[in-house]
Symmetry: C2
DNA sequence: CCGGATCCCCAGGGATACTG
DNA sequence: CAGTATCCCTGGGGATCCGG
């Protein structure tokens, strides 16, 4: 494990979680809870098995995750975050918040997973009307579906289909999430191929107050192609 | 530039700022403002010049920093954060906050810079008594000195010496910062070689409320040696 | 099928020398 | 001072193989 060898808290944090894939492994465990090796591999398209194995060892040595040997019925080893591992949540939140504005750019080959959509939907939105009655919003993007439950000031997300959603947004993930986050408006979304059914007034309730959601078109278009690591696009 | 190729805001953020050295360059520009190439090199002990050069180009392409050609008197190029670059502050903050608990472990060869101490002192403390009169705390660690001014609910830090500090803490940086952050107590600090002069009651005022500052001895001792990248220890 | 370990190859990183 | 050029080496990507 390589160190920056600087007596600075930022550098020391990066010594531990700054290597490639490390924070994404933490993201998976944060979103999914305990995972098998294969679950992790599946949630991290593009990672090599030796790297995943190596990172898991490092994370265990640093006390961020723990291995649990599951009893006979399943008879497999599970990986889970420790308390210290969970303490990375604000960092992951900050990273996801900052990365939000990068989500409008189209990168055709990008892989996608339903639980990422659930996670994004949860962290990109907020219940601005805690007093109003709870509502459910269904999100659908190709095979991937998730729904969010909004009420009492909380936003909770789940992978899959809801029974009776007040609002359904279906279309390319960019549009679904962009619409939720307020980065694009409904006219744009529909014009670009999104389908919205139900009570669209609900969208306003999900808006975060203040700035930070403005689409930075200049930035998103300036960001050029990056070399792909050959991931399967789900 | 390599990409994770995942349609997830965390992954996309890491595509841009996840490569080695990138966030530390941002840290330097955040702490120091506009920098010359050499200033950056000096604030990033261990970095290779080609890497620094390469990262600066990447950061410029991504719109996080901008080059300014300074007029004849200085006649050099300066690097500065753009507005989007400055938007990384919460992320750097989260990283530094998480890394705080790693600062108690001793890594003998680590490099150190006075402005890192200033930055750490500022982000590790808080003015818990905004109504009380302003005070100045001087921090000294070998050749490196910085002081913090506390008052009106704000904490501001500066590299160098203050005129008439209410409190002076001198000793190994671990002890100085550990004492400020509340990770070690005064008895320990003095016993380990710190020298404290002035009104030590001021320390209590700097304490952050709530948990999060507890020294995790188990963790810090478990964190083993990492290979150094050959940095000069200032 | 799961949980890796092993091997090969290449790109990215580290150290140093050199130039405008 | 501000980089560029070069060389070397390690870490990461990709595929395959193997024990349980």
């Amino acid at each position: 494990m390589r160190s920056y060898a600087q007596y600075c808290s930022v550098a020391r944090a990066l010594d531990v979680v700054g290597e490639r894939w490390t924070l994404l492994i933490v993201r998976e465990l944060m979103q999914q809870g305990s995972c098998r090796f294969t679950d992790l591999k599946n949630g991290l398209p593009g990672i090599a098995t030796n790297l995943l194995s190596s990172r898991l060892k490092d994370l265990e040595n640093d006390g961020l995750i723990a291995r649990e040997e599951a009893p006979p019925p399943v008879a497999t080893t599970l990986y889970a975050l420790t308390a210290e591992g969970r303490s990375l949540e604000p960092l992951l939140k900050a990273l996801g918040d900052w990365g939000r504005h990068l989500m409008v750019a189209e990168h055709p080959g990008d892989a996608f997973r339903a639980h990422w959509m659930a996670y994004a939907a949860e962290s990109f939105t907020v219940d601005s009307e805690p007093e109003a009655r709870p509502v459910v919003v269904q999100l659908i993007s190709g095979d991937n579906s998730a729904f969010i439950e909004v009420g009492g000031g909380e936003v909770r997300s789940t992978v899959g289909r809801a029974a009776a959603p007040e609002l359904t947004i279906e279309g390319p993930t960019r549009l679904v999430l962009g619409l939720l986050a307020g980065m694009i408006d409904m006219g744009q979304a529909i014009g670009s191929g999104a389908r919205i059914t139900g009570n669209s007034d609900v969208l306003a309730r999900l808006r975060r107050a203040g700035p930070g959601l403005v689409p930075d078109a200049a930035v998103s278009s300036r960001l050029g192609r990056r070399t792909r690591t050959g991931a399967s696009s789900a």
